[in-house]
């Protein structure tokens, strides 16, 4: 009799067919919320601590439409203050940084980039600069609910600094499902944050590491609500330093 009841209980359990897609969407949403709410100021703080590859390059990227939220220019670079795990920075205090850079000079913050109708114009795309050459494309395996954007960065000289960002327009239901790169994971600090209507993937070369002269691939993957995407809402930007000079490239993803 007990065995019979057990069997009926198992059958009752199996009668429920969970809606995997619905569950995954809810989980991803919860994950994104718990990542973005914790350190809302995290990426801004981390930006402020990061030695950007080049202030000039940064300004160019901002005017090219890759206006990173909380994009910050520091004074004299305070190197190696990037927290090892930006995600764990949980102090929500908006107070200026930082535990380590006590002598950090005042920062000029450019949050909410103004809707300037005539920004100092940078071209829509600039795919090559010095030793950098780049190309963005939508991976052909993408489908109605899921997209992978590929960024191929051809590097002709060793890079001592490198920041790669991919911005995905939050057109509704966009949830990151991951990212990867061909360079060793250990060389980069990777963050994924939703900022001002965009899901922002960011790779930051760790201080002291070098990217060799070689082809480097970066890929981001995300779920989206039904409806194919063509990459038009997605952009990338790269800032790098080679032999003491700064370079920047940026562009979109072609399907």
């Amino acid at each position: 009799m007990t065995e019979r009841i057990s069997r009926r209980l198992r059958e009752a359990a199996e009668a429920h067919q969970p809606d995997r897609v619905r569950m995954l969407a809810r989980v991803n949403q919860g994950m994104a919320a718990s990542t973005t709410t914790r350190p809302v100021s995290g990426i801004r703080r981390s930006w402020s601590r990061v030695t950007l590859a080049g202030v000039t390059a940064a300004g160019v990227l901002v005017s090219a439409g890759l206006a990173f939220a909380g994009f910050v220019q520091t004074g004299p670079p305070a190197e190696t203050t990037m927290p090892a795990t930006p995600n764990s920075v949980s102090t929500p205090s908006p107070a200026p940084p930082s535990p380590t850079g006590s002598s950090t000079p005042p920062v000029i913050t450019r949050q909410d980039p103004p809707p300037d109708p005539n920004p100092p114009s940078s071209p829509e795309t600039k795919t090559a600069d010095g030793p950098l050459s780049s190309k963005g494309s939508v991976n052909p395996n993408s489908h109605t609910f899921w997209t992978q954007d590929d960024l191929v960065l051809d590097v002709a000289a060793p890079l001592t600094k490198l920041t790669v960002e991919v911005h995905i327009g939050q057109t509704g239901g966009v949830q990151s499902t991951g990212q990867w790169q061909t360079a060793p994971s250990d060389d980069f600090t990777v963050t994924v944050k939703e900022i001002d209507g965009e899901v922002v993937y960011r790779w930051e070369l760790k201080p002291g590491r070098t990217v060799p002269a070689a082809r480097q691939d970066f890929a981001v993957q995300y779920n989206h609500g039904s409806g194919a995407r063509d990459g038009k809402a997605d952009r990338y930007g790269v800032m790098a330093t080679a032999a003491g000079r700064d370079y920047a490239v940026w562009g979109g993803f072609k399907s």
Binding site: M1, T2, I5, S6, R8, L9, R10, E11, A12, A13, E14, A15, H16, Q17, P18, D19, R20, R22, M23, L24, R26, V27, G30, M31, S34, T35, A84, T85, N87, S176, T177, G178, Q179, W180, S185, F188, T189, V190, T191, V192
Partner: protein, 174 residues
């Protein structure tokens, strides 16, 4: 520590265990859609502690425990709501699409007749074949309590379902 590695690991956990957790939520609450949401929410709670749990041996036990707690809270809230509006609380619109719907409904109804802890013990031990130890781990109670709650719960189910089985005998064999 990289976001992508943790995330990939967690998504792998999701793929392996989401169905079991949703079914557990379904057997405990009897609400199909809400069960999926509840299990998803439990997984998010798991994610928020993932750094700590991934090294532990029992992330799944933890997840089951979260599902059980959430299910109990949900049932309590629903009970309060039912009292407040003094209406019969329908479990209605989410019908089970099973070839043997009536049998499943009977089991679900019988489970609803059990106090929550007995129900959870019976479900984990017999619907999911968990050991007494794993059941105790998930529910945060002693093995002794699992033993007694399970045997009492099963006795009640046998009484209720056995009586009904006499009535509907034969249907299940076709």
């Amino acid at each position: 520590m990289l976001v992508d590695h943790r995330s990939a690991e967690f998504h792998d956990f999701f793929e392996r265990h989401h169905a079991e957790l949703a079914r557990l939520a379904w057997l405990l609450t009897g609400e199909a859609d809400a069960a999926d949401d509840l299990a998803a929410d439990a997984l998010v709670a798991l994610w928020q502690r993932w750094d700590r749990l991934r090294g532990a041996e029992h992330p799944l036990a933890y997840a089951r425990g979260v599902v059980a707690n959430m299910a109990r809270e949900r049932i309590r809230a629903a009970t309060r709501e039912r009292r407040r509006i003094a209406l019969f609380w329908s479990r209605g619109p989410e019908q089970v699409r099973s070839p043997d719907v009536a049998a499943v409904v009977d089991v679900r109804a019988a489970l609803d007749g059990l106090p929550f802890r007995k129900r959870a013990c019976v479900v984990l031990r017999h619907a999911f074949d968990l050991s007494e130890k794993d059941t105790a781990l998930a529910l945060g109670i002693s093995v002794g309590a699992v033993k007694s709650q399970t045997s009492k719960g099963m006795a009640e189910l046998e009484r209720v379902l056995g009586a009904r089985a006499d009535v509907v005998m034969g249907r299940g064999n076709q």
